[in-house]
């Protein structure tokens, strides 16, 4: 299987061959930053196009089909439009916080994006509390949303932000606990170890019942965490017009928009990494030739393929279900998901202690 580490090492050696150590590191940092941002923007564009097409097909429509073949350049055109749009100056707002909020949101999502192992050897930071770090940085986004709602000085925005705060803090529990279930199983918080541990079968299969429960809970909580339907209460368009980002225009709105899609990607890729083996190909113990054939498919395809499937499921939710009400949303978390999760964690501990897994 192709290891992306060979490329990165080659670049590393090339730089070090003619640059001093510190400068080389600096250049590498900048290169990695550029690559990440480029990937970030590219994935956002693809996702926006995908969402528009997927929802169009759900709704018996064609979707974007004018700009470029099958409308593929539509989201690029939209991006250019968004970048050149005026930032409307609003009176009676807390200007500093108002302008800060979209950056907090986007920084949180870029940081989380940077932790994901995209393919074999294609991993920016891989340290021993990787998944813990990922949860930590991704929850900074809430601060941005609360700030946006508060600083807008708009009643709709404030209600949206408060809903969002309540919702995200609640569902963070479920995300944390379902990830903890995985950590109990793999015995490590390092993402590379978690992926390597799934070489002989994805966790969803190895951990059977508790892993499946954790996966479902994670998907529900992850959807809620990204403020997507049916949990899109913070921006419930029929109630709060646009919730916390009502007052934002131009690229500031664009940041929220991008962050929403990228958060969906992050949630899906974490689900892939933890439960579906990340970039690991599908291996069935005992089927040697089958495993070898699977190994010919590059790891990056495995990763994006699986993430794509998870993203499709999340989109499917959104375009099928009606929206919940705030009390029902919180009841779902605190009355059902949280106890279920705790029980599930206990079950996983039993499975691990008595070695009941495959």
């Amino acid at each position: 299987m192709f290891d992306f580490a060979t490329i990165t090492h080659w670049v590393d050696e090339l730089l070090r061959s003619f640059l001093p150590h510190a400068t080389a590191t600096l250049v590498e940092c900048i290169l990695i930053g550029l690559c990440l941002l480029l990937g970030y923007a590219l994935i956002a564009l693809v996702l926006i196009y995908a969402e528009r097409k997927v929802c169009a097909f759900f709704q018996c429509r064609i979707g974007p089909n004018r700009v470029g073949p099958y409308g593929t350049i539509q989201s690029v055109a939209d991006m250019i439009k968004m970048l050149t749009k005026e930032l409307i100056d609003i009176n009676h707002i807390d200007r500093f916080l108002f302008n800060l909020a979209p950056f907090v949101v986007i920084i949180a999502s870029v940081l989380a994006f940077g932790c994901i192992p995209f393919a074999k050897g294609l991993h920016v930071i891989d340290f021993n509390v990787g998944i813990f770090f990922l949860i930590a940085v991704s929850s900074i986004g809430i601060v941005g949303i609360l700030l946006a709602g508060w600083a807008s000085n708009n009643k709709y925005s404030l209600i949206g932000a408060m809903r969002s705060g309540a919702q995200m803090i609640s569902y963070e529990l479920s995300i944390g606990l379902s990830i903890l279930t995985v950590v109990v199983f793999t015995g490590s918080m390092q993402l590379s170890t978690i992926v390597e541990g799934q070489a002989d079968g994805w966790l969803l299969f190895k951990g059977h019942i508790p892993a499946c429960i954790a996966f479902i809970v994670y998907l529900i909580a992850g959807t809620a965490e990204t403020n997507r339907g049916p949990f899109d209460l913070p921006e419930a368009d029929s109630e709060l017009t646009a919730g916390y980002h009502t007052e934002y225009s131009g690229m500031h709105f664009g940041f929220f928009y991008l962050a929403e899609y990228l958060n969906m990607f992050v949630v899906a890729s974490v689900a892939t990494t933890l439960f579906l083996g990340g970039w690991m190909p599908l291996h069935v113990p005992g089927w040697e030739s089958f495993n070898q054939i699977m190994d010919y498919i590059p790891s990056i395809f495995w990763f994006f393929g699986k993430t794509g499937v998870v993203i499709f499921i999340i989109m499917w939710f959104k375009w099928t279900f009606p929206r919940l009400r705030i009390d029902q949303l919180l009841r779902l978390e605190w009355r059902y998901l949280l106890p279920l999760n705790l029980l599930n964690l206990f079950l996983m501990v039993i499975v691990v202690v008595f070695k009941l897994h495959f």
Binding site: Q59, D232, P322, L324, I326, Q328
Partner: protein
């Protein structure tokens, strides 16, 4: 019997007999008579269908059409005041709740102040409007009321007028709508869930709705005033613009009212065509209801399903009438043109097409846990309140009130077809929803019986080029898509109507929002608004 009872009790009341009794009473005993009509077991006039403010030249007054839901009899109750400077009438808003908004409307258009009415604000026009447009001596000079380019002020206090005990003096009192420190959010006039330019001022405590204040008039076009300067055939075009989702039904009511006044009998073929079109109109309206409700609840895909199917109904109507939303099809004495040869065939195709789709609707929305949780038990309307507020149509039927005009006073060919009046008793949002979905099936059933049996004949009878209605007042109502739509015409024998009043089915629906939404969440307010299914141009007129 009614006549004798009233004569005995109120000997001074003058009574005209006609198609319906008209009782005129002096201001002094107006309230007493109203209470008697409402509370007497043999009369039990508990439903105020329509209240019309009138300027009779020498006097100003109101004429109300009352109905008893128990005995199914109707009568007109009339009172007046000759004081044109400071016209004052006693309120009946505590007897029939629906009079609350109606009296505000009368105040707005005629300047009659209702004593002891809790909230004497203008309903449709701006606070700073000069004059009362429906008075015959109204000055329509644009210099008096120029187009004002600033927003009108919103007041948190409303005036009301009370009769003091000593000597009938009237004192003004102020009622506080919203306290200084309340968190008041504007839902509308530009809001995706109000389905038009309607404005709710909602007082919130966190997510919980404490009070809703309705502000209408953002799309008020003065249609009733316009009708007074149009000939009868010209007035027809305006009804389509009231409730644009029930354009055909509205016009049906006006045509029937004029035909009845003229004593014109329309051919059987016309009745069939009108009924078929009414039902197609109802189908398109209910499909739109389903779609928009789903959208309000966040199920956007379902919205498109509904629109996909509604499109087919619109296509059918377009072929015959030339219009999709506004049909302009009914005329006095018949319909504008004969049906398109494809109509029968296409309706039959549609009858086969829709039932599986409705099944799909149930799968994608009705059966969904989230949808059921959002709708069941939310915004419960009792039968008593439905009658008192006059919330007829599917909303009333969901509360257990049998109020289908098609059943109770059949028009068109509704007496010849077999159909069920869908009645549910829970009165919550879910039953309002399901009543409409079941009515779609009933409409299909009605169409099924009609399409094959359209008799041959003329599609219109010849009328005189200049139509003059005989002197008198006339009322006719139809079951429009969202309730009873009525037309009240008062004629003085001219080619122009003296006064036209449209009984809007949506005004009562909006008046119950406050009651239903109190104590619920903001999201419930949207669900309640969605299931009440009001159309704003209809209530604003």
């Amino acid at each position: 019997m009614i006549l004798e009872n009233i004569k005995n009790k109120f000997p001074e009341a003058s009574i005209e007999e006609g198609a319906l009794l008209t009782i005129t009473v002096e201001t002094g005993r107006y309230r007493e008579l109203a209470l008697y009509l409402k509370n007497d077991g043999g009369l039990a006039f508990d439903f105020l269908i329509c209240m019309t403010g009138m300027d009779w030249g020498d006097s100003l007054g109101v004429i109300s059409l009352l109905q008893s839901t128990r005995h199914e009899h109707k009568l007109f109750l009339k009172t007046f005041t000759t004081n044109r400077e400071n016209p004052e009438l006693p309120t009946v808003s505590d007897i029939w709740e629906t009079a609350n908004l109606n009296e505000r409307e009368v105040y707005d258009f005629l300047g009659i102040r209702f004593i002891n009415h809790p909230d004497m604000r203008r309903l449709f026009l701006r606070n700073d409007w000069v004059g009362y447009p429906l008075r015959k001596d109204y000055d329509a000079n644009p210099e008096v009321n120029p187009v004002r380019l600033y927003s009108e002020e919103t007041f948190d206090v409303t005036p009301s007028f009370e009769a003091t005990s000593h000597g009938g003096e009237v004192s003004e009192k102020e009622n506080v709508l919203f306290e200084e420190d309340e968190y008041v959010v504007n839902i509308g006039p530009q809001h995706p869930a109000t389905h038009g330019v309607l404005r709710f001022r909602v007082s919130l405590e966190g997510e919980i709705v404490k009070k809703v204040d309705v502000n209408c008039g953002y799309i008020h076009r003065g249609i009733e005033k316009m009708c007074e300067s149009l000939t009868y055939p010209q007035t027809l075009a305006l009804t389509d613009r009231l409730d644009y989702l029930a354009a055909h039904q509205n016009r049906h009511a006006l045509c029937m009212c004029i035909e009845e006044a003229l004593g014109l009998e329309v051919p059987e073929r016309v009745k069939y065509i009108r009924t078929i079109m009414d039902e197609l109109n109802r189908l398109s309206s209910h499909l739109l209801f389903w779609s928009t409700l789903c959208m309000d609840m966040g199920a956007l895909t379902a919205f498109f399903y509904g629109f996909r199917d509604r499109e087919k109904v619109l296509d059918i109507m377009e072929e015959t009438t030339g219009g999709r939303l506004i049909q302009n099809y009914n005329v006095i004495g018949g319909v504008m043109a004969d049906i398109h040869p494809n109509l029968i065939h296409r309706v039959k195709e549609f009858l086969k097409y829709l039932p599986p789709m409705i099944k799909e609707y149930h799968e994608v929305f009705t059966g969904n846990v989230i949808a059921q949780q959002r709708l069941k038990g939310v915004g419960i309307l009792t039968r008593e309140n439905a009658i008192a507020y006059g919330a007829s149509g599917p909303t009333g039927r969901a509360a257990g009130w049998s109020c289908d005009v098609r059943k109770h006073t059949p028009y068109g060919v509704y007496d010849k077809v077999d159909f069920k009046e869908i009645i549910h008793t829970e009165g919550d949002s879910f039953s309002r929803y399901i009543v409409r979905v079941e009515e779609i099936m009933e409409s299909l059933h009605i169409l099924e019986q009609l399409v094959d049996n359209i008799p041959e004949g003329d599609y219109a009878v010849k009328t005189k080029p200049l139509i003059k209605l005989p002197e008198g007042h006339y009322f006719k109502s139809v079951e429009a898509s969202r309730g009873e739509f009525g037309v009240y015409i008062e004629s003085r024998g001219d080619k122009f109507p003296y006064r036209v009043k449209f009984r809007s089915p949506c005004l009562p629906l909006v008046s119950i929002v406050d009651q239903l939404a109190r104590g619920n969440k903001i999201a419930d307010l949207i669900a309640i608004g969605g299931t009440l299914d009001y159309v704003v141009p209809d209530l604003d007129r």
